[in-house]
């Protein structure tokens, strides 16, 4: 027998502070709290550390402790390793997990430092001088044919494909209706519109409630083709083909049938209650030329008016794949690092497959430059972007812009508890249960997400100004303005950065 495993969290209620209002009971969707006559009883075993109870307790009476019961400590046989074995011995199944990579890999962003000006060039004050964060995403020719007509007017003879203009190099990544609630999507879409950026639909179609924001939405075509028809493609500002995802490179997706309610069924165009299974590969893409055909097909269907992005998971060969994508008519390649979040992924893939976004962006940018095709495509970095410093570093390594996911959810309350796949999200984000969804007020939540993007935009302007740069283009690929701190030599070569002090 294996017996009972130690509880992961312990919840305590301070009887002196508690006024027995019962808000914890109402708010906890995991069933940690219940009334026992006039007293509140706690079952810590159900706790996910989502903090909903703590956030709602008016008296700060609730305490939470992680790992209240120790295992014998061992550097190899960690708690996680042992518990995975107990679980699988019991069930014989693949372990599911939510959110991003939970293993203790070093964070490269935290080993890179940015530069600032002193004396030899003046730093710029964003309050006094313009700092441009406007970013354009899309294909560009390597050169322009500009002729001067008689009379001095300049004639542009090169035809440029439409680019996507964002006011700040931050976009909200693809999180589908299904994985998250409609309220969460509406809140983020509204924030994207307010801040002049874009948001991805994910592979869940475009619900009618999002139509008012469609010119700020990037519609996704993934391997299940859920929700895809010509109306959907035409509504979006851009189209993204999802090949892979950083949280689970090489595999598809699975939305369990119990989440497929009437609304989701209509939006995804699948029967109510049926599992929505996205296959691992696109079954019409078995080679790079097949991908190029799909890009062309989507462009043709939308009369070459919309940029088409291709999203790949950051895998070992990401740079070469990106170079292949750049040779198609695709406008941008999205590289999703191994820290990217997800509603649900097999833990073994989430934690062990793929490479960090920092290295992936650096090698993609370098490969494209080596082949002289960096202008052919924009590079969007995603997967583990936590703040404006990460954005600045990603851009200095070679990205044009970033997608955020988890950070936008956190702005709406998400505590990164990692139980998204259970559909009980007490914050109303990763759930379809109407009473839980109703907890998320799109008006309020959109303000929170917009605030986050605005705050990061202000910080980016400060970072640029300190570096004496008044336009984001001049930070892109500017690895001279980065230094590696405690990074090994091999990695510094990949990133093409010098060590601190050099």
């Amino acid at each position: 027998m294996i017996g009972s495993l130690p509880s992961r969290y312990r919840i305590g209620i301070d009887p002196v502070r508690c006024m027995e209002c019962g808000r914890c009971i109402e708010n906890c969707s995991y069933g940690v709290f219940r009334w026992d006559y006039d007293r509140i009883q706690v079952n810590s075993r159900n706790c996910t550390a989502c903090h909903r109870c703590i956030a709602c307790c008016p008296r700060d009476a609730i305490s939470l402790e992680e790992h209240p019961c120790d295992y014998r400590s061992h550097p190899l046989w960690t708690r996680e390793a042992r518990e995975a074995i107990y679980n699988q011995a019991r069930t014989g199944k693949i372990i599911l997990a939510g959110m991003g990579n939970a293993l203790d890999y070093p964070v490269i962003f935290d080993r890179l430092v940015l530069d600032a000006c002193q004396v030899t060039n003046p730093s710029l004050d964003p309050l006094r001088e313009p700092i441009e964060l406007v970013t354009h995403l899309g294909k560009r020719p390597a050169r322009l044919d500009l002729r001067r007509r008689e009379g001095g007017d300049v004639e542009l003879r090169t035809r440029l494909t439409p680019n996507l203009r964002i006011e700040t190099p931050v976009m909200i990544g693809h999180m589908s209706y299904g994985a998250i609630s409609l309220n969460a999507q509406v809140a983020m879409a509204r924030a994207a519109k307010e801040t002049g950026t874009f948001m991805g639909t994910g592979e869940g179609g475009l619900h009618a409630a999002l139509h008012p924001y469609q010119d700020r939405m990037i519609v996704q075509v993934a391997s299940g083709r859920f929700g895809v028809n010509i109306d959907y493609l035409e509504r979006g500002a851009a189209i993204e083909i999802k090949i892979g995802q950083g949280a689970k490179p090489g595999i598809g997706g699975h939305l369990p049938g119990e989440k497929v309610c009437a609304e989701i069924s209509r939006t995804r165009m699948i029967p109510e209650g049926s599992d929505a299974i996205s296959p691992a590969p696109h079954h019409d893409i078995y080679s790079i030329e097949d991908l190029a055909q799909l890009v062309r097909g989507l462009k043709e269907a939308t009369e070459w008016k919309k940029p088409v992005f291709v999203k790949i998971a950051a895998v070992h060969n990401a740079a070469a794949i990106a170079a292949g994508i750049a040779r198609s008519p695709a406008d941008a390649v999205v590289v999703d690092g191994f820290r990217g979040g997800t509603g649900a992924a097999p833990m073994v893939l989430r934690d062990h497959v793929g490479i960090p976004i920092e290295a992936a962006v650096a090698s993609v940018d370098q490969k494209l430059r080596d082949q002289g095709i960096r202008n052919e495509i924009s590079v969007i970095a995603s997967g583990g972007i936590r703040g404006s410093a990460d954005i600045a570093k990603a851009i200095a390594l070679g990205a044009d812009a970033v997608y955020i996911g988890t950070a936008a959810l956190a702005a709406m309350g998400c505590r990164v508890c990692g139980n998204c796949y259970r559909g009980l999200c007490p914050w109303g984000i990763a759930t379809q249960r109407p009473d839980l969804v109703a907890r998320l007020d799109p008006d309020e939540a959109s303000g929170l997400v917009a605030n986050l993007i605005r705050a990061w935009t202000l910080e980016l302007a400060e970072l640029l100004g300190a570096a004496g740069i008044n336009s984001i283009e001049s930070l892109r690929g500017n690895r001279d303005r980065l230094r590696g701190y405690m990074l090994d030599e091999g990695l510094m070569q990949v990133l093409d950065v010098k060590p601190v002090g050099a």
Binding site: H136, D145, E473
Partner: protein
Amino acid sequence: MDGSGIREALSMMNERGSGEGAGYAAYGIYPDYRDCYALHVFFDGIRESKPLLDSTLAQWGTIEHDEAIPTRDRPGLRAAHTPWRYFFKPDPSLGTPEDEIVSALVMQVNAARRGALIFSSGKDLGVFKAGGWPEDVADFYRIEDYEGYIWLAHNRYPTNTPGWWGGAHPFNLLDWSVVHNGEITSYGTNRRYIESFGYTCTMHTDTEVVAYLIDLLVRRHGLDVDIAIRALAPPFWEEIDRMPEAEREWNGALRLVYASAMMNGPFAIVAANRDMMVGFTDRGKLRPMVVGECGDRLYISSEEAAIRAMEPRVESIRMPGAGEPVIGRIVA
């Protein structure tokens, strides 16, 4: 104009230098070898390095003439390298355009670092530079012996590569020479951009990319010089958005396509080729630039004092706006 005037002008601005680098570029100084590329070279260990360069040049064309650049000893200037000049004609049977051969040669020789640095490679022009005060550098190269119709000069206050002769301005590639007051904060972006077009940065200093960027945009991409400068110091998007449609379209396209060529940070730059001289600043104008005119002569300088030293009867003095290029063309 012989070189004595600009020597005088430059010495007005010695406060801007530290005695560790200065240089001059002059156009029209080699009329006898007008059709040859004048390659100015710094040799280290000339006995070993010169035969190597001779044989490389012989592979690609003919050396019409070569000689030591005439110098005179100056007490304040330690000769760190041996300056030499070649008058070189690329082999027409190679089928590659002459300019391509010469620019590839410059890149190859300078990247190889075998005791030879080609720091000037245009026709009928020459760069003269060294570590020292401007007057010493001018006297060292007997600058007053040259007659040119365009002159560039620069006084350096080095921070990055003090004393290294290769780091002094002007920087030259083929027809274009550049002097630069400032520091380019976008250097990393510009370098990575220009290197993807086959240029190699070897001088350890930011100004080098300016010469290559102008070469790329003007010679290889065929942009008019004022449009090329607009790509390097473009208007803000806010201004572009307010332009009438046709103008907005090409200005927007220019920013999109040449985003990585755009130069950031404080700078005032004067560049020249055989037909023109052009001055421009960064779009915030964080470095000074003064323009003077007298008759058919154009003067561009960091300081008015230098212009007045050279042309006491200067007729007009003005300060162009940020990013606004000033172009003086040679009227035949």
